[in-house]
């Protein structure tokens, strides 16, 4: 396997998939980590389920089965998050049910239904890439935007470490800061990763 075939473009920064929660929810590390983890896990499970569906269901029912699976996955995760930490569930708000129509998951469903669907490893790398962006973006935004680092935890209260006495860039904690941070990350991705890809081609 050469480097070029091993390269999987980041779904968030190159494909612009699943950006909606990244803009808003990543203002806090704990919510950003939780939601990107749920989304990435959902993408992996959707791809795994697609393999099963392709071999066990007629083509027309396959898509329906995958959407039903996704809806129940989001419902189950929502109930688990609510039971584990009502604070985290409240912080995720509408973005938790919205995972059911997340672009990354729907993309995996569409890809999984195709005859020439990519290998499971590609989905795994893609989901890990999304998770990495979510983690680094929420870390960047909370530390610089709020001066704290909130750690996800069970129960009614989340621990937060104070990193700076005052937030250095409060703008980053707003949706506008979310767009700008994503722009910065996408730009870095274009600058750093596009160069080797071109030289290899």
């Amino acid at each position: 396997m050469n480097a070029r075939t091993a390269f999987v473009p980041n779904p968030a920064l190159v494909g612009f998939l699943g950006l909606t929660p990244l803009v808003v929810v990543t203002a806090n590390f704990s919510t950003g980590l939780l939601l990107t983890l749920i989304t990435a896990l959902g993408a992996v499970l959707a791809a795994a389920f697609a393999v099963f569906v392709r071999t066990s269901f007629p083509a027309r029912l396959g898509l329906v089965a995958q959407i039903v699976f996704l809806a129940f996955y989001v419902l189950l995760v929502g109930l688990l998050v609510q039971a584990w930490s009502p604070v985290a569930a409240a912080a995720l708000g509408i973005y938790l049910p919205l995972t059911a129509v997340n672009g990354l998951l729907l993309h995996e469903i569409r890809r999984g239904g195709a005859k020439d669907s990519p290998r499971f490893r590609t989905t795994l790398v893609s989901a890990l890439g999304y998770l990495m962006v979510g983690i680094s973006l929420s870390l960047f935004r909370e530390v610089l935007g709020q001066g704290t680092l909130g750690l996800p935890g069970p129960g009614l209260g989340n621990e937060a470490l104070r990193i700076f006495a005052e937030a250095p860039l409060p703008l980053l904690a707003t949706p506008a800061g979310g767009f700008m941070s994503l722009a910065l990350f996408a730009s870095l991705d274009q600058l750093v990763l596009a160069r080797p890809r071109r030289s290899e081609a």
Partner: protein, 194 residues
């Protein structure tokens, strides 16, 4: 809140694209501007979804204490029902109505439509107010999308550095636009039109 207040808040200080981030993936991809027909289809899709979700929430989920199941209601009942109806009615996609219904069908399974419906139904509005809020949110999305489209066309001619071309430039523009929109205070807007 008055009806005009709901419209102003939904278009500006609670803009679907710039405050909630709904549909940002579509706005970030280089493509043609949102056609008026697509905007109408989006409005119709959000209106129908919001109405059905509001009815399901008010008369079924809340009385039974099953509000958490609204994701199942949307993904397994509302979206497939509206998709089926629009597909059944749009057999001839060559006609304007067929093309409109085909776009409604395309828009149904998106975070934009579900997100607007969720916001409208969770705001404690009456049915009429929820429908007005969802239509105004679609208009606000269309407005922000059109402004970003105009910025995109300008940026394409401006010789940006390689790292900022296309997506990153659009996201940065969306960030600046979101700053402008967030400066419009929701309480001020609601208070202006009591």
């Amino acid at each position: 809140m008055s009806w005009l207040g709901i419209v102003l808040v939904s278009v500006f200080s609670a803009n679907a694209l710039l405050v909630y981030g709904f549909g940002i993936a579509e706005a970030s991809r280089p493509r043609e501007a949102l056609a008026p027909l697509s905007l109408l289809a989006l409005g119709a899709a959000t209106l129908a979804s919001s109405a059905l979700l509001w009815l399901a929430r008010t008369f079924l989920l809340e009385p039974l204490g099953l509000v958490r199941f609204e994701v199942l209601v949307f993904v397994l009942v509302i979206a497939p029902l509206l998709k089926y109806l629009s597909q059944a009615a749009s057999r001839d996609s060559a006609t304007p109505i067929g093309s409109f219904l085909a776009r409604v069908d395309e828009a149904m399974m998106s975070s934009l439509v579900f997100g607007i419906a969720l916001v409208a139904t969770r705001s404690g509005f009456s049915l009429g107010e929820a429908l007005l809020a969802s239509v105004a949110s679609s208009l606000g999305f269309g407005g922000a999308f059109a402004i970003l489209g105009g910025i995109r066309r300008r940026l394409e001619l401006s010789g940006l550095p390689r790292g900022f071309r296309e997506g990153p430039a659009l996201l940065l523009s969306a960030g600046l636009l979101a700053m402008v929109f967030s400066g419009i205070d929701a309480r001020l807007l609601a208070g202006l039109v009591k």
